[in-house]
Amino acid sequence: MKNVSVLTFVVLIVIVLGLFFVSFQVRETEKALVTTFGKPTSSIEEPGWYWKWPSPIQVVYKFDSRGHLYEGLMEETTTKGGEPIIVTSYIVWKIGDPLQFLESVHDSKGAEEHLRSLLRNTQNEIIGQHYFSEFVNSDPEKVQFEEIEIEMLASLEAQAMSDYGIEIKAVGIKQLGVSEKVTQDVFERMKADRKRKTETILAEGNAESTKIRTDAESKGTELLAVVEAEAKAIRGSGDAEAAKYYKLLEADPELAMFLRDIEALKKILEEKTTIVLGAETEPIKLLRGVPDIKPKK
């Protein structure tokens, strides 16, 4: 009884330990390369648990299969028209073919070195095929920035895979600039542009304000004209109506005239008047003496 349990126990331990020597796991995020007697024999891309002969018969190399970032250096290159520009690019890459990768590049460090020169060459080549006006243009339709990035990707993809077993997932330009000397000219131009704009703005302001003012004035004039016409009409209707009454005065025109004159007289001499009259004027002539009147019969 005891012997059997001892035996089982020992066997179990041996098996478990042994497994470490004859099998290996490939993690979801890894790719593996199996070499037999130093020569690569198979590459494994699916995760799982696999058998192998114990080393040194078979050795397994594992690589992280996820996307890595490579940031390029700031480089100066020229466009098709000969204009210098400064670009900094980046690459997101993965291991595509572990075999090729191991043979040509070995590891991530090595990969970066190769990618550096590959990126530089591609940059120079592709950018050299495009004019500066395809990077920056007053007409946004003419800007080919994204297309240029796509071209760089295409060019890199093919070479990276065939030469290094590297799969390029993305390429981008993360900084676009111009050489230092040029910036001074750019500033001068920006200043000149701004100055022109400033003048235009002020001119527009003046023009518009003038327009608003004259507009208002003309409207005001128009309104007053309309109103004046109306006022005239009102006065006219008043005069017409008065005329109807004046017609009634034709019953005795002389009397009417007299009454009118009397009113005028009263009005004119209302204030600040000095009157010089002959003493014969009634009722002033009363000042002379008692009048000669008799009662009525």
Partner: protein, 420 residues
């Protein structure tokens, strides 16, 4: 008993004794072994329990977890991702637990497009000095285009500085786990410490790419007023790029931190242009105020509308009247004056006519008397109102008299004005 027999007996006895000794020894050994084996068995059972028990783990509320069984992700579909709570898995090396933070919104500042600032400047000290050129290594900037003028080809570009703030979230942890490289956290580190090293540079590079690509399409005027289309475009472009590499990262928002600004080297020119804009606004506002005031004075607040309505073709009298009655201001005064005139004129005429007809019968009977009365009353009134009255006796003889009157007296002396 013979000696031989005695010897044989003692030999047998010795052997027996030896055997007995062996038996005893055997027995204690087996006993001992038995005990240790039982202990061993108990220990083994405990170990197995511990082994299984150590497979329990918990997932925090801001995390999700994946279990890798022998390297492969365990489970199918939705159940692959484990949410917060307690779970069990085989301990290593059979199962491996990978934790990924989700839902936690993280943010990242992007400063690569800002000019170089010394430590003092960063703390707030404003330096008037700006170098004449922009060093691409120290200073960051973006290129923007100039305004488009139809028919004119231009590759003139402008330089602007910008600062951005990116907020992001890992929405699809499985994708993220599979496609983005990050090293395992060292003891004492958690996932977020690792992201700073691994994920942020990637986000920075891709964001910068999106920013450069977008800014080039906008003009400098659109940029310096922080046209909201710009960060929207950057956002969608960045999301596109992140999706292209199957990152499982979602852009929550891309914001301009502050505003996009012109380089310090051209500050004066741009400030002047800003002032000009303000000046223009001021001129227009003043003009509008003047215009309003003018029309208000002329015809009241609705003057302009009423004028337009008055100019309509077929307007009935009533409509005209009602429109005109809505006018105020000097228009109203004018109309009021006209109305007053009319009233006065009519009333005067009416009064005159009525008065005439009133005295007409009596006048026809006693004309002289009526005239005299009216005349006297009038003269009385006139003389009453007069300031100075001078009566001259006519010359008894036909000789004419000379009369000298002193004029130019003090104009202040006089009767107070009669109130109407």
């Amino acid at each position: 008993m013979t000696d031989k027999e005695i010897e044989e007996n003692s030999e047998k006895f010795d052997v027996n004794q030896g055997q007995e000794e062996l038996d005893v020894a055997n027995k204690s050994l087996t006993e001992a072994l038995g005990v240790s084996f039982s202990i061993l068995k108990i220990i083994m059972v405990i170990l197995v329990i511990l082994f299984i028990g150590s497979g329990v783990f918990s997932v925090q509320s801001e995390e999700q977890a994946l279990v890798l069984r022998l390297g492969k992700i365990r489970g199918v579909g939705e159940s692959r991702l484990l949410g917060p709570g307690f779970h069990w898995a085989f301990p290593e090396p059979i199962d491996e637990i990978v934790r990924i933070p989700v839902k936690k919104v993280q943010s990242l500042g992007i400063d690569s497009f800002w000019y170089f600032m010394t430590e003092e400047e960063k703390l707030g000290k404003v330096s008037r000095y700006a170098p004449a050129t922009m060093n691409p290594i120290k200073d960051g900037y973006c290129l923007t285009r100039n305004d488009s003028i139809s028919g004119v080809e231009g590759t003139d570009y402008n330089i602007v500085h910008s600062k951005w703030q990116l907020t992001y979230r890992i929405d699809n942890p499985e994708r993220f786990f599979r496609n983005i490289y990050y090293r395992a956290p060292n003891p004492g580190e958690d996932f977020f410490d690792v992201t700073a090293d691994m994920v942020e540079p990637l986000l920075r590079s891709m964001s910068a790419d999106a920013i450069v690509t977008t800014m080039v399409k906008y003009s400098i005027d659109e940029a310096i007023v922080s046209n909201p289309d710009i960060p929207d475009n950057v956002e969608s472009l960045l999301q596109q790029k992140l999706d292209q590499i199957d990152s499982g990262i979602t852009v929550v928002e891309m914001q301009i931190a502050g505003k996009i600004t012109w380089p310090r080297q051209v500050d004066d020119a741009f400030q002047a242009s800003n002032k000009a804009s303000q000046e223009k606004q001021k001129l227009i506002t003043e003009a509008k105020a003047y215009s309003e005031k003018m029309l208000n004075e002329a015809g009241g607040p609705d003057a302009e509308q009423i004028l337009v309505a008055l100019k309509a073709e077929d307007l009935s009298e009533e409509q005209r009247k009602s429109l005109l009655s809505r006018l105020s201001g000097s228009s109203q005064e004018q109309i009021a004056r006209a109305r007053a005139y009319r009233t006065k004129v009519v009333e005067t005429a009416k009064a005159s006519a009525e008065y005439l007809h009133e005295i007409l019968p009596e006048y026809r009977e006693r004309p002289r008397l009526v005239l005299q009365k009216i005349y006297q009353d009038a003269i009385e009134e006139v003389l009453n109102n007069a300031e100075e009255k001078i009566f001259i006796q006519p010359a008894i003889s036909g000789k004419s008299k000379e009369l000298r009157i002193l004029i130019n007296r003090d104009p202040l002396i006089g009767k107070p004005k009669k109130s109407e």
